[in-house]
Symmetry: C2
Subunit: 637 residues, 2 copies
């Protein structure tokens, strides 16, 4: 048999699995599906291919679970699952499939006639397009209705008797199905309380998840956990194993320098990030388990330097953007729509993949058209009644248009101009130009040397956010960027950023302005702070002033904080990009630059993905060695 792949209509696999992901959150017995419009997938598709056969050959077609359909060879119909023989000559094969409950997918098994490149998909609407597939679904017995996870078993590193029960501790947080053996004569099935922290698992009232193992298999549902508490159970009575279930995405980066703390920060960041990276980039593994556009933008930047796996980026971009016509914003958030546009650019810079950008282009245009449709009389974008204008958890002056949103719109116009086909470039260039003028006229405050949040309220309130964007997106020129550093970034009168999400943008702005020493100190202080409190994965938020006991609360919930959160992995990007000094000079990394900050390192030995390849740099007492190797070679994650 030749290698075959499950086929589907491009984009539908992602929309289906995005729903599964966004509907999978469960908290304290309540399922909590994401609160935004969810785009469905096509339910009726045909796949077609013509063959010119030299010899008789046979093939069998399988449909995804629950599908209806048939195989047509020239004029004859055959059911799924039946071996079909075809004589030599020219033949047209079409596979018709319909499925309500999951993405209609087919698998064609055969020596010559098999599914993969070359098949066209037809949705009975537009012209046929090449069918899509991926490397994870190559087994006829494992169809795309469910991801098949790779598994790794973890035994507890500690078992203790506490509060009349048994507490099992694992070396790290996992997304695992617990497998429990217990005395079935004694209890029907033990109740299990899970925790990211020891405190959470022991708090049977407030912990997020509790479950009972299936009596036959002993398995609990797949959930995030590091601790498992079984009340009323003596440690010797039960055996608890965690079967970590993950999607295998090889890490292609390693970071080693003379500062062990930095090495540890990089390693724990990588571990945190990989736990949050599965079918899609997730925010966190305990909470929300949703695909958020703002988080994903930062994940794309991190992933560029960690796995270089473009497939998870493509899946995430498709999932976030949803369907057309687009009537709501990404996750309902106006700025996340604009960050999605920036994410496409981040993807393009990483892989130089024009084909995928072309695939997305109509969706980029329609999303920008939605944003443009929401402009007020000065040309500034504003939220509609049901839109969420977020930017960050911060006290903005939200009267009238918000400056940070205009900065994002301006950058989105730059990306659109850059990625547009020739005939659309001038349009976006012109939009950007006039927006720049208007921002300068209405939001720039010469007296304060800063952009203000709002020009309509008269309060002239300054926050860091718009000013950080002005630096990152080059909206302020170099002189003004230096001014902004003084008047905003190093001005303690301007309220500090409180979220690691936006702190990333601030740190990158500081890197751009050359404040590397300050950034390095901050990375060490903030992330080592977590490590010193025993973190094995990095947290959604960390307040150095609070004791460990007070760290778990967030959003008014005693265990509301996610202790394994993707946006906390941003040191990977900052260390790789600004300290190891590695970056592509052309999209996809055909040409690149490696300029480590020799001032900070005696020794440096790092590997990072560079497009499809891997770049290995070694710095020893000022001497730099570089080596570019093919993908897969010499990986030491």
């Amino acid at each position: 048999m030749s290698e075959s792949y499950w086929l589907w209509y491009p984009g539908d696999f992602e929309l289906y699995h995005a729903m599964k992901q966004n509907f999978s959150r469960v908290e304290r017995g309540c399922a909590w599906p994401a609160f935004w419009k969810s785009a469905g997938f096509r339910n009726r598709v045909a796949f077609r291919r013509a063959y010119e056969l030299d010899a008789e050959t046979g093939f069998t077609v399988y449909g995804v679970t629950g599908a209806q359909g048939y195989v047509q060879v020239d004029d004859a119909k055959h059911p799924f699952g039946e071996k079909i023989s075809v004589c030599p000559g020219s033949h047209t094969i079409s596979v018709h499939i319909a499925c309500i409950g999951c993405v209609p997918s087919i698998y064609v098994e055969g020596d010559v006639i098999c599914s993969g490149a070359g098949w066209m998909a037809d949705d009975f609407d537009g012209d046929p397009v090449p069918a899509a597939y991926n490397r994870y679904f190559t087994d006829p017995k494992w169809d795309p209705s469910e991801w098949k996870y790779a598994e790794k078993e973890y035994r507890p590193i500690a078992v203790e008797s506490v509060r009349g029960g048994a507490l099992y501790t694992f070396e790290t947080e996992l997304t695992a199905a617990l497998k429990i053996t217990w005395d079935k004569a004694k209890v029907e099935a033990p109740r299990v309380y899970l925790g990211e922290s020891r405190a959470e698992a022991l708090d049977t009232k407030n912990c997020y998840y509790h479950c009972q193992p299936d009596r036959n298999t002993g398995l609990c549902p797949r959930q995030a956990l590091r601790y498992a508490f079984l009340p009323g159970c003596a440690p010797e009575e039960c055996e608890v194993t965690a079967i970590h279930q993950y999607i295998d995405i090889p890490v292609k980066a390693a970071f080693s320098c003379d500062d062990e703390e930095l090495n540890r920060i990089f390693a724990v960041s990588a571990h945190t990030f990989m736990l949050c990276s599965g079918a899609f980039f997730l925010d966190g593994i305990k909470r929300d388990k949703w695909i958020w556009g703002g988080d994903a933008y930062q994940s794309l930047l991190v992933n560029r330097y960690l796995t270089g796996d473009r497939e998870i980026e493509k899946r995430t971009l498709i999932a976030l953007r949803g369907g057309d016509p687009v009537t709501t914003h990404v996750n309902t958030i106006l700025d996340y729509s604009l960050l999605w546009i920036l994410s496409v650019d981040a993807y393009f810079e990483s892989y130089g993949d024009r084909e995928f950008v072309d695939f997305l282009w109509p969706k980029m245009e329609s999303l920008m058209a939605l944003c443009f449709s929401q402009r007020e009389e000065h040309g500034f974008v504003v939220g509609r009644k049901r839109d969420w204008v977020f930017v960050d958890w911060a006290d903005f002056d939200r009267d009238g248009p918000l400056c940070a949103e205009q900065m994002l719109l301006c950058e989105a116009c730059r990306v659109m101009e850059k990625l547009a086909p020739r005939e659309r470039k001038a349009f976006y260039a012109k939009e950007r130009e006039s927006l720049l003028c208007q921002i300068e006229r209405f939001f720039w405050d010469e007296a304060q040397g800063a952009y203000v949040d709002s020009f309509t309220s008269g309060k002239r309130h300054v926050t860091r956010h718009a000013n950080i964007f002005a630096i990152l997106f080059g909206i302020a020129d170099e002189a003004r960027q230096r001014l902004l550093a003084r008047s905003v970034l190093f001005n303690s009168a301007v309220p500090a950023i409180t979220t690691p999400y936006f702190r990333f943008f601030e740190l990158e702005a500081l890197c751009r302005l050359g404040y590397l020493k300050e950034v390095l100190a901050e990375i060490k202080a903030y992330w080592c702070g977590m490590l010193k409190l025993g973190a094995v994965t990095f947290w959604e938020e960390y307040d150095p002033k609070k004791p460990l006991k007070a760290q778990y609360e967030m959003y008014g919930d005693p265990f509301g904080k996610s202790l394994c959160h993707a946006w906390a992995a941003s040191p990977i990007y900052l260390l790789a990009r600004y300290f190891a000094g590695v970056r592509a000079l052309t999209p996809g990394g055909e040409t690149y630059e490696a300029k480590p900050q020799t001032a900070f390192f005696e020794h440096l030995d790092c590997r990072f993905p560079m497009g499809e390849k891997q770049l290995h740099i070694q710095l020893n007492q000022g001497m730099l060695r570089e080596e570019l190797t093919e993908q897969g070679k010499g990986l030491t994650p």
Copy 2:
């Protein structure tokens, strides 16, 4: 407990079940899902309602099978299936639900807090709208993922030993699950061959369906059948019962006159029609089991006089029209899109239901916009590359725009003008006027006294279809209508209509022109012809010149013809409308007219739905008695 209903977002129930219906066709072991774009349903919805409670009360929320969600009472979350107590005072209840595999629906059970009118549905896109529900789904244990069929058991009327097997004959065709008992020691499970005709069941190679009963339950899948053949089985060895499964829609019509043949035609038409009427109007019960727009238009006209059940009409209209943006035609057929517009008018005339027309109005406008977008330089609508320009199975001169399509577009403009809100009326009136001028200028052939199919080919070919439409839609004035009767309808040089589908339009045109004697003769000849061949349901097509044995073939398939086909029930409409002379004078039948054709009947005793009521007319030797009764009273189907 108060009576509760399952709730869903308006329209989604219909789109979900339309897919189930259109994907349910199976022929000779091959599933054959309908070959057009299928509109999906929303997967993430919230339902909300505020309550002002005098006393403490409890309620429980259930979600449809496979759904994820939670109940929020003020700020507290609760899982589905848990009894929730609420104290007196003001409360806001919201139910969040997500479901990939079927339409997200909820059921709220409680004395005071229960699901039905008053709940709003939110799809996280547009403004909330009143939630939808129907009378069939009121049981918490029976959710809307599956229709719960009413059942009636039929025992065979004949069992015979033939060709080494046993043949079971039922009194009529059914959509039934066979229940079989057999000697399980002898065979694992017998193979069963089904037929609409005896010949089909006995032809184990060419019959459409064969199946095996489930070994435990003895049940076969629900299928159309009148005959069941079990090869290798002696009649005394097996017991076969047919469990007819149907959706209970009460018939509210009866027809009795002094002509027993007409009474029989009406009764068999009614029986045929009801078999084809379930969740939706289907074309036939063996084949295609699909929802076709042209067939449905005629079914709406028949149903007006048979059940007066507006719900099946609403379901069918929603199912046919699908989603927005509309990019493909109803069933891919240009004329079926236009007939859908006419169907909305037929619905409005029957029930005067402005609210439902308002619900559909945006979909009417967008569908007309699609049709208008396909006009060539003269303003005539033409098919696009992937459109099907059907009209009828006939030899049209298909060069350039087809006249019959323009007639339909013209009538669609009239309907749009009539049903439009005030500010849109002029638009459609003007479109219709200019189209009328262009039809006259390009398609009218003065020499032939007929409209020609094509003005571009130069062939000046005349078929009946456009000319019939010109009469039905009043495009030809009265004088010209009389001319068309001579030059086309009674002109044997113009090829005869071959399908009962279009024959219906022709017979109605003849009725309009007063040729009732001719129509009555035709009804008797054609439909009695089938009865004389032993038909117990009316057929998709009937050629009086062929012997019984040759009647089953169609589309090149020996048993391709459907022997229970909705469009063959059109005598109901013709007899009621033109012979019993019953029609509404205002939409919904507030005022009506009953003018039986006394020339044809000595005695007539008929009941027909009239809006929500029922009209009973009795004609005895020229004396007419009319009685209008409330729905449900005095029904004698």
